[in-house]
């Protein structure tokens, strides 16, 4: 390990109420969930000296349940738990598909959906799913709870509206109508970080097409592709929608891929979504 833990401090709340008080009174603190991203940075010495808040033992943040109409997923639910959940397979199969392609078994056993969202990488695999599902992020602080639609959660590269004294405690997902669709493009099914990741829903409520589509690794934040959605929903040609998506995204060259590749693949994925998800 190149990084050092000397001088770093770990606060260990036993209850959620204690955790949010610690964030208010003793911050700034970096919350630790499954550590599958954070410990990579710690091991490589690229993490700034900081103090941590251990969330792993807070059972209040775990679990999947249906409450009223909404599906509730605790922030500290692991990818393995998501893959095993009957409620997820029934109501949000595209999330199970995303969880299956994250890391390997070891990462899936430890990594959490709340960690994926808090980490705020534009390549996070569950983020397009939450965007396309119209999920709501539930934030808790000592002052109370607030709910932020996933579509307005991110404000810039690795930036979100969550304040330093707030914890992501879970996600609420309204019923999703229509066919769900997920694709991850990477060098390998396991372990690889996405070159492009995409989730979509083809909703045909009341006979009207209302496709929803979100993409990751193509801009500083994961994107809901509202212009492409409108084109597809209003009966524009697929070629037009494919032109629009290439303008709507803002990809860059990085160590995983190039902007040009990502534009071309984004257009191809819109075509695949159109031909596969639209089917009855």
């Amino acid at each position: 390990m190149q990084g050092t833990i000397a001088g770093r401090q770990l606060l260990q709340p036993r209850w959620l109420g204690d955790a949010v008080k610690m964030l208010r009174d003793e911050g700034p603190l970096v919350p630790l969930a499954g550590c599958t991203d954070l410990y990579v940075a710690l091991n490589f010495g690229t993490l700034r000296p900081t103090r941590f808040l251990n969330l792993w033992n807070l059972d209040a943040l775990r679990g999947i349940e249906t409450r009223g109409n909404a599906l509730r997923i605790g922030a500290q639910t692991t990818y393995t738990e998501i893959m095993k959940s009957a409620a997820i397979h029934r109501r949000l199969p595209m999330l199970a598909a995303a969880a299956r392609e994250i890391g390997g078994v070891q990462i899936q056993n430890r990594g959490t959906i709340g960690g994926n969202v808090a980490n705020a990488s534009p390549a996070g695999d569950t983020l397009p799913v939450l965007l396309a599902a119209d999920a709501v992020v539930v934030l808790r602080s000592a002052a109370g709870t607030r709910r932020v639609p996933m579509t307005s959660f991110y404000t810039g590269y690795r930036q979100s509206v969550a304040r330093l004294d707030e914890l992501i405690v879970g996600f609420e997902i309204p019923p999703v109508r229509g066919r769900q669709w997920f694709r991850k493009v990477g060098t390998r099914a396991a372990q690889a970080i996405a070159k492009i990741v995409v989730a979509g829903v083809w909703d045909t409520a009341r006979g009207e097409a209302r496709p929803r589509l979100a993409m990751g690794s193509v801009a500083p934040t994961p994107l809901r592709l509202s212009q492409t959605e409108r084109a597809l929903g209003s009966g524009a040609s697929l070629a037009d929608a494919q032109q629009i998506v290439q303008r709507e995204i803002a990809p860059i060259d990085d160590l995983r891929s190039t902007a040009e590749y990502r534009r071309r693949v984004a257009a191809n994925l819109v075509g695949q979504f159109y031909s596969e998800a639209r089917k009855r």
């Binding site: 792993w56 390997g104 078994v105 990462i107």
Partner: protein, 159 residues
């Protein structure tokens, strides 16, 4: 801090943010667990926490207090997977082997080839080309079956 490692309770003095990997190797003297990449890509440091495979390079020790930890030493050299790796060339240079075997134990006693491929996808090997590893895990199934016939459910209970 108290941990349960290979069914024994041990008290460790490590900083709560210390990687489980370092506690196992340096404080418990269990050097069977290897460090490969140190970033959760290669699986060489795989151990079981409450029966689930994890990368011990990414787990702060504070998060496994009260959990059951099993390392390669906990299989005592007699596990059907260990025998099968020896007999079928599943181990070559050996660095990935403890992690491979620990990840394979978490697959249960009768994994299909598909389940083995998926279950070991987080473990990298640069020697075998994987074929010998898959062969070893498949061969261990027959051995587990023979053993559990002879000795009740011991092979299953072992992990």
């Amino acid at each position: 801090m108290k941990l349960t490692v290979n069914r024994k309770t041990v008290t460790v003095k490590a900083h709560p943010l210390t990687r489980l990997l370092d506690v196992l190797r340096e404080e418990c003297g269990l050097t069977g667990t290897k460090e490969g990449c140190g970033e959760g890509e290669c699986g060489a440091c795989t151990v079981l926490v409450d029966g689930e495979a994890v990368n011990s390079c990414l787990v702060p020790v504070a998060q496994v207090q009260g959990s059951r930890i099993t390392t390669i030493e906990g299989l005592r050299g007699t596990h059907p997977l260990q025998r099968a790796f020896v007999e079928h060339g599943g181990a070559q240079c050996g660095i990935c082997t403890p992690g491979m075997i620990m990840a394979a134990t978490a697959l249960g006693p009768r994994p299909s080839l598909d389940e083995i491929r998926t279950g070991l996808a987080g473990n990298l090997c640069r020697c075998t080309g994987y074929a010998a590893i898959y062969r070893s895990v498949l061969a261990s199934r027959a051995r587990s079956r023979a053993r559990s016939k002879g000795k009740g459910q011991r092979a299953k209970a072992k992990v």
